[in-house]
């Protein structure tokens, strides 16, 4: 009996060795060069199309410049409005009229939307296999954009725009909620809901407080950020019909015009307040609608802000008055400067990985 068990164990053991030896090793793909760290969006200066993405390796404390050009051996050649992440790709939206699609791991170019239909693209969202791109459309003689639209592309890797959906003026941020695409139309003062299957507008919700800029999720709920010269507004949306159910109105004047802000810990939001020669980082509470710190950090030429939840640091983009390349000021949540990074032209946003 013992002998039988021995052979039984031996057999099972040999079987396992044989089977396991024939099974491929677990895949151990090395991390892509840009899968960790901070991606810094440098918008670029008007008329020069010198927008780029820089990478900051926190552990090595090293900045890699121009990663699009470095990887793809050609300049990005556009003004970067947004770096959207939808695995397995990054989408670099250029407000000069194109979208570049790169692998999210290594930034290798895999496609693009180079369509004459794009005029001034602002943001991109992916729904299924489709790309939806908000676009200001052309300016009229009063520098308004009466013919704004959302462009639709059939493939996640890019291609031609096969349909445009008219929306109110100056569409900015997008968010996909199940089969719906929400569009924040800044000048139109509306939140537009698009059916991503039928590719048509199904409802429009007026936003009476502030110009709507962008959407974000917090604590399982969808918020719409809006601003005007005297206030910022956080509108809580009803997930069923996207109507505004609650609004936090905060008396923060001169919030930066590009609608940049950063969501920190426990509903703390950091907003740039512009002030001529001196700009400030103001901390406000999404939960209470109160200003927590009206001058967390100050300096000139603030343009972008991001929050690194891993290290609890604020990243503040300084555009150097658009006279040259900018820098990023890394500040802790007490407002103490940790270090400064030399980056590209007009650092406007951050993506932490």
């Amino acid at each position: 009996m013992k002998s039988f068990k021995f052979y039984q164990y031996l057999f099972v053991g040999l079987f396992l060795v044989a089977v396991l030896s024939c099974t491929p090793d677990p895949v151990e793909t090395p991390l892509g060069a840009y899968e960790r760290g901070v991606l810094i969006i440098n918008e670029g200066a008007f008329g020069t199309n010198d927008g780029e993405v820089y990478h900051y390796d926190r552990e090595a404390d090293a900045v890699t410049s121009n990663i699009f050009e470095r990887v793809n051996a050609r300049p990005f050649a556009g003004l970067v409005q947004q770096l959207a992440h939808y695995d397995p790709y990054f989408y670099l939206v250029a407000n000069t009229g194109k979208v570049e699609v790169v692998n999210a791991t290594d930034f290798v170019s895999v496609g693009a939307v180079n369509s004459d239909a794009l005029v001034i693209p602002r943001a991109l969202a992916v729904a299924g296999q489709k790309l939806f791109i908000s676009d200001y459309g052309p300016y009229d003689d009063q520098w308004n954009n009466p013919n704004s639209f959302v462009a639709v592309v059939a493939r996640r890797e890019g291609g031609e725009v096969y349909k445009t959906i008219p929306v109110p003026s100056q569409p900015e941020g997008l968010i996909v909620v199940e089969s719906r695409l929400l569009v924040a139309c800044a000048s139109g003062g509306e939140l537009v809901v698009i059916d991503t299957q039928k590719e048509e507008v199904v409802s429009s919700i007026p936003v009476n407080q502030g110009s709507p800029y962008s959407f974000f999720n917090f604590d399982g709920q969808i918020y719409l950020y809006a601003r005007n010269a005297s206030h910022v507004y956080f509108h809580l949306l009803n997930p069923a019909n996207f109507s505004i159910t609650d609004t936090k109105e905060i008396p923060l004047a001169n919030s930066i015009y590009n609608g940049n802000f950063a969501l920190g810990e426990n509903g703390t939001i950091y907003i740039i307040q512009t002030g001529g020669t001196t700009d400030r980082i103001v901390a406000v509470s999404l939960l209470t609608g109160q200003i927590l710190n009206e001058n967390l950090f100050q300096g000139p030429n603030f343009y972008g802000v991001g929050y690194d939840s891993a290290q609890k640091n604020l990243y503040i983009g300084d555009n150097a008055g658009w006279q040259s390349n900018g820098k990023v000021l890394v500040v802790n949540d007490s407002g103490i400067l940790q270090h400064t990074l030399e980056v590209g032209k007009g650092p406007s946003g951050f993506l932490f990985r």
């Binding site: 199309n49 410049s65 050649a77 000069t96 170019s109 512009t274």
Partner: protein, 627 residues
């Protein structure tokens, strides 16, 4: 103060007779050419480069910007073929050079600069470039130097007729028709030109995935214009002349790679000038009036117009062989009707120039100028120049020169009044510059070698920069830049048994050092200004005989940084052009020439400004007929 200034400026007026200086022979007309001021007369110590009609005609159908880029040591920021071209001189900004047409300042008062792409070479007969700060001679903008365009009329030439035609690559054609008539009392010249270019050259579109080879498809330019010159001798001592130039330019704006812009721009420029010259003993009186109207319409929407009316009076007086004096006053009534504002301005300028030649070898120029704009005093601008013949032996002559000058730039109408952002409190930009030069001249029969080296230093402050504000951009007097550099000029004529060789070499070294800029961190201090190459070289070899001409021309533009941080740069490039020209005649009356040019024969892929491609190898055929 003002009274004192006027006294100083005009103190030369009566002294000739009072001092009993013997007048030179009376100046009388009857010469072949219509009288024009000698540009360099009061510019001792500085260099003036001259380009005559023969040189300019090789660029028929092209702009002064194209010409200067290819045939001088000057660098122009070209946004594409036929697109905006802005001149930088001695490392200063594109608004730091003054441009004159027949003595009228024609820089846009709203932009404070000139687009050299809308100055077709057909519009003038002579182009002169005055290197170095010369605010005391010319007024506002002449910080790095100045460019002077003029029309030259002649008497006693009878009736003549000339046509010029050019066809080339990328949909280029140019037609020009000119007729002139002159006798001993009257001279008239009329010319009409029309040119266009599709600019559909191929380029590598690095902004697209796969970097496809594409054809430029939104860069077409068309241009036409008319030039009318008239002159008449009213008496043996009085001559009147007038010129009119109307130029219309219509272009698609070549988009920067990666952009899908479809902008268009129309420019219309009307320039008119009238002169009365009265010659009296050793004095030349000049009364000049003129009108300059510029209209620029962008995307058929933004309509920007400026009108300038000028009136000036001037006395140029040779008091003795040792002493010469020029005194003058210029009034300018400027009316701006821009897309966001309307503003008028009156400018008054008083100036005095004096030459003193104590010996034949030594000459000094002293110039003084005070400009008043909208009731504000611009910086008082003096300049001093000196020339000295160090050695004159046989056919050799070595001369030394030096100059020291202050210059300024009145803030543009846009700087002060643009809505939003214009800042009426802006101060004029100002500069202090000094230079020393060494010249060598060798002449023997038909041999000639003319070489000159100039070293300069310059400091510019209160430099206006537009900086972002909470809601818009606004200008400030914030930047300071120090420049230094070296300019080399060489011209040589070498006679051969079958003709002659002409050699021209120009080199410019411009090192700019940012002292202070709009970035308060100071991280750019010490850097080279963007799009200001430290080095530019140019050379032409021309072989000519009675009926044939050959040339090879090359220019090399050095590294250009694209922003003040000097982090990214464009590579240097070298272009080579060649050409052949044959003169012909048909009977006794008809003569002409036929020529062929190949430009950029190495097919160099290059960009003057980043992501703005320029044409590769291209060809042109020229035909001129004169009766």
């Amino acid at each position: 103060m003002f009274g004192f200034l006027v006294t100083v400026l005009f103190s030369w007026f009566p002294v000739g007779d009072v001092l009993g200086i013997t007048p030179a022979d009376t100046v009388e007309l009857g010469t072949v050419e219509v009288y024009s001021d000698s540009l360099g007369k009061y510019a001792m110590g500085q260099y003036i480069l001259r380009f005559g009609k023969e040189s300019l005609e090789e660029f028929g159908g092209q702009s002064l910007g194209d010409f200067l880029q290819a045939r001088s040591g000057l660098f122009l920021r070209q946004y594409g073929p036929g697109m905006v071209a802005s001149l930088t001189m001695r490392g200063t900004s594109v608004g730091h050079n003054a441009v004159f047409w027949n003595g009228l300042p024609i820089n846009s008062p709203s932009l404070g600069q000139m687009d050299f792409s809308i100055l077709p070479v057909e519009g003038f007969d002579l182009a002169q470039v005055h290197f170095g700060g010369s605010g005391a001679l010319y007024g506002t903008d002449a910080i790095g130097g100045s460019v002077h365009l003029s029309n030259e009329l002649v008497f006693n030439q009878g009736l003549s007729f000339r046509t010029s035609h050019r066809f080339g690559s990328f949909g280029t054609f140019h037609n020009q028709v000119q007729g002139s008539y002159s006798n001993s009392q009257f001279s008239s010249k009329t010319q009409v030109y029309r040119q266009q270019a599709a600019n559909n050259f191929s380029f590598t579109n690095v902004a697209k995935i796969g970097t496809p080879e594409e054809r430029q498809n939104h860069a077409a330019v068309s241009q036409w214009g008319i030039v009318q010159d008239l002159a008449r001798n009213l008496s043996a001592q009085t001559q009147v002349s007038t010129s009119l130039w109307w130029n219309v330019n219509d272009r698609q704006i070549q988009p920067v790679m990666g952009s899908s812009n479809r902008d268009v721009q129309q420019d219309q420029n009307l320039r008119w000038v009238a002169d009365v010259h009265h010659f009296e003993n050793n004095r030349v009186w000049n009364l000049k009036t003129g009108y300059v109207s510029d209209q620029q319409v962008f995307n058929e929407q933004a309509d920007n117009r400026t009108n300038q009316f000028f009136l000036s009076g001037e006395l140029d007086w040779d008091l003795s062989k040792m002493l010469q004096s020029k005194s003058g006053v210029r009034l300018a009534d400027i009316r701006g009707n821009l897309s966001t504002f309307s503003e008028d301005e009156l400018r008054v300028e008083l100036y005095q120039s004096t030459n003193f030649r104590p010996t034949e070898k030594l000459g000094l120029s002293m110039n003084l100028r005070q400009l008043i704009y909208s009731g504000e005093l611009a910086p008082f601008t003096p300049s001093l120049g000196i020339e000295y013949t160090v050695l004159e032996y046989g056919q050799h002559k070595i001369s030394g020169s030096a100059a020291l000058s202050r210059s300024f730039k009145v803030p543009t109408l846009n700087d002060r009044f643009w809505i939003p952002g214009g800042n009426p409190e802006l101060l004029p930009e100002r500069s202090l510059s000094g230079e020393i030069g060494l010249g060598y001249l060798y002449t023997r029969e038909s041999w000639k070698l003319d070489a000159r080296v100039t070293y300069y230093r310059m400091a510019v402050d209160q430099w206006i920069v537009w900086l972002p504000q909470p809601s818009y951009w606004a200008p400030q007097n914030i930047q300071e830049v120090n420049n230094q550099g070296l300019e080399i000029f060489l011209n040589s004529d070498i006679p051969l048994s079958f003709g002659a060789i002409q050699l021209t070499v120009n080199h410019a070294w411009n090192a700019t050092q940012i002292i202070k800029t709009g970035d308060s961190s100071g991280s750019n201090n010490g850097n080279q200004l963007p799009y200001t190459p430290a080095h530019k070289s140019q050379g032409t070899v021309r072989l000519k005989n009675k009926s044939m001409g050959y040339f090879i021309n090359t220019h090399r533009i050095g590294t250009r940084y694209i922003s003040m941080d000097n982090q990214t740069s464009l590579s240097p490039y070298l272009l080579v052009d060649i050409g052949i020209d044959r003169k012909w005649s048909l009977g006794k009356k008809m003569v002409g020439s036929v020529g062929f040019q190949a430009n950029n024969i190495l097919n160099t892929r290059y960009e003057v400004l980043r992501l703005r491609p320029m044409p590769g190898r291209n060809f042109q055929i020229n035909l001129t007929i004169s009766l």
